[in-house]
């Protein structure tokens, strides 16, 4: 009997793994096959033309550029805010300080807050401050959204920071602040992975930018203009009843998927590569 159960469970486990693979393959295959046939050079190099939304020519360059603007700016901002936080958490605070515990908890919770709530919250703030849906709004909300990702994944690496290196730096007479160069060098792979993760999440998020960045057919030239984003390009065009417009949604989804796949593979590469010849 017990050997039968053993066999059965093994089969079930393998099946569930195959199911996971099945999902991955199905999603990737669907997006690529649908998207590839709709893909053309115009799609990624042209702005929407006059009759774009009834199936005439044009592309979604506006969405690509808008996404890049938002993601680029918020990634930079996010790095500037989260590196000091992680540094403070791990170097200035004692190992089992209450504040560190509460902060980690807060960031874990912030990480779990749905992006639609971020969007709604940021939108109220924007109304309060009198900012309209714009590039600036999108950058603010995405920055808030990715800071927890940055902090959590860098903190994971920084927690493992070897005590000896810190002691060696202190023995040379360094203040806590002056260890930052050593710390940043040591956790550089962690920072790289965290950045890739954050870019991935930032570029794919639709719910938060929906109200804060708005949507437009042109490329924004200032922070106060609305900006289109790739996920919203997919979303809006898919809800059109016209087949040609829907095709463009598939093409945009393909672009998005390819970007995310590249980021994910790069992330793997970084973690593998650096965990091998990292110090200790």
């Amino acid at each position: 009997m017990k050997f039968f159960v053993e066999k059965l469970m093994r089969v079930l486990m393998v099946l569930s793994l195959l199911l996971v693979f099945g999902f991955v393959i199905s999603i990737i295959f669907t997006i690529f096959s649908k998207g590839w046939s709709a893909m053309s050079w115009d799609m990624i190099t042209k702005l929407p033309g006059g009759g774009f939304y009834i199936g005439k020519e044009g592309g979604f360059l506006n969405a690509i550029v808008g996404s890049l603007y938002i993601v680029g700016a918020s990634t930079l901002l996010g790095l500037f805010i989260s590196i000091p936080v992680v540094f403070y958490l791990n170097i200035y605070l004692k190992k089992n300080s209450k504040l560190a515990y509460v902060t980690r908890l807060a960031y874990d919770v912030l990480f779990g807050i749905p992006s639609i709530v971020y969007g709604a919250f940021a939108f109220t703030i924007m109304i309060y401050l009198g900012i309209k849906a714009s590039l600036l709004g999108g950058i603010i909300v995405i920055t808030l959204l990715i800071i927890p990702i940055f902090v959590r994944s860098m903190d994971e690496v920084a927690k493992e920071f070897p005590r000896e290196i810190l002691d060696a730096t202190y023995s040379l007479g360094a203040t806590r602040l002056e260890t930052i160069r050593v710390v940043v060098r040591q956790i550089a792979p962690g920072i790289a992975t965290a950045t890739l993760l954050s870019i991935g999440r930032a570029i794919g998020d639709a719910a938060a930018v929906m109200f804060t960045a708005g949507y437009t057919d042109s490329i924004p030239t200032s922070l106060s203009q609305p900006a289109a984003t790739l996920p919203l390009a997919v979303f809006f065009q898919l809800s059109s009843p016209i087949a040609e417009v829907q095709d463009r949604a598939y093409a945009a989804a393909l672009v998005l998927t390819v970007i995310v796949l590249i980021l994910s593979l790069l992330g793997r590469y970084f973690t593998n590569r650096f965990s091998k010849n990292k110090l200790k």
Binding site: L15, I31, Y88, A106, G112, P114, V117, F121, E178, A206
Partner: protein, 298 residues
């Protein structure tokens, strides 16, 4: 650079970083207060119970019963967790207890990809694959007619989305179980599955509950993918094949028009507040359990 100057710089940088840290915690509190403040008008003259459990949703008449949306969210989340739990549990068990290294080499990137795909891509996949499958293959077996845009479609898509989270949390839990325990059990003549079941799974039950709660809260707030496959009809669902209208979809769909009706805006903010509170409570509880487990393991 005098030593005094260095000390001052060390202290003042510390102060700045401390402020940054406090600000980020304050963001959480500010969110709660901000949402409550914006949602306050809808509480006037309406009891919380009425808001949550009434099925009357007539915004133009000022009637805001959230029952259809609450039920919609519960259905979709419930289905997602029910589907994802056994798959992720089995997969994680296999990966920690049975699998050879080369299997992991292929599975982890796959899970990475699942975790990284944007929800709008899941939405596209759902509308292209899951929805037609339900309306053409599955639904005819049970009901007369279904468009496929249903609670089940939302549940399946959401289930796939929370798979990587569950698997990685489970793997972390299982790997924390000391090997001595496994060896002791195997040494008594138990099969591998018996060992897994009696030792590994039993020992990690609190952690698994925490992981599931975490996954539930993730599923709760997922917006775009669910919005694209659920049908979005404000009614209390009666079967898996009925369209549903989860809370996040409600917010996303009605944002544009809400400004014209102040009370409507408050109602939507109330919806966001519900999400916020549920996610906050679930997250705090499960994270605290997981921290304790992590601490014990190290």
């Amino acid at each position: 650079m005098g030593t005094n100057f260095r000390i001052i710089r060390d202290k003042s940088a510390g102060g700045l970083m401390f402020i940054l840290l406090i600000l980020s915690i304050a963001l959480l509190i500010a969110m709660g207060i901000g949402l409550y403040w914006k949602a306050a008008p809808v509480f006037e003259g309406r009891a919380l119970k009425e808001l949550l459990f009434s099925a009357n949703w007539k915004p133009l008449k000022g009637e805001f019963g959230f029952l259809p949306f609450v039920m919609g969210t519960l259905w979709v989340t419930g289905i997602a967790v029910l589907l994802a739990l056994p798959v992720s549990l089995l997969a994680a068990t296999f990966l920690t207890e049975y699998a050879k290294p080369f299997v992991k080499k292929y599975v982890f990137p796959a899970l990475d990809i699942l975790a990284a795909l944007p929800s709008v891509v899941y939405g596209v996949w759902g509308t292209l694959i899951i929805v037609p499958w339900i309306s053409e293959k599955l639904a005819p077996l049970f009901v007369e007619h279904s468009t496929g845009y249903s609670a089940l479609a939302g549940g399946i898509v959401l289930g796939v989305m929370i798979l990587p989270l569950l698997v990685s949390l489970f793997i972390e839990l299982f790997s924390a179980v000391p090997n001595d325990l496994r060896e002791a059990s195997l040494g008594l003549g138990a099969t591998k599955w018996q060992t897994t079941q009696k030792v590994v799974l039993k020992k990690t039950i609190p952690g698994m509950i925490a992981a599931v709660v975490l996954a539930i809260s993730r599923a709760f707030g997922e917006t775009i993918a669910v919005l694209m496959v659920c049908g979005n009809l404000a009614q209390v669902p009666h079967s898996l094949f009925d369209p549903v209208y989860p809370i996040p979809a409600l917010i996303a769909n009605n944002y544009g028009e809400m400004l014209s009706l102040p009370l409507y805006e408050a109602a939507l903010m109330f919806a966001a507040l519900i999400l916020f509170v549920v996610v906050l409570l679930f997250n705090v509880a499960s994270r605290m359990v997981l921290y304790r487990i992590e601490k014990k393991a190290s």
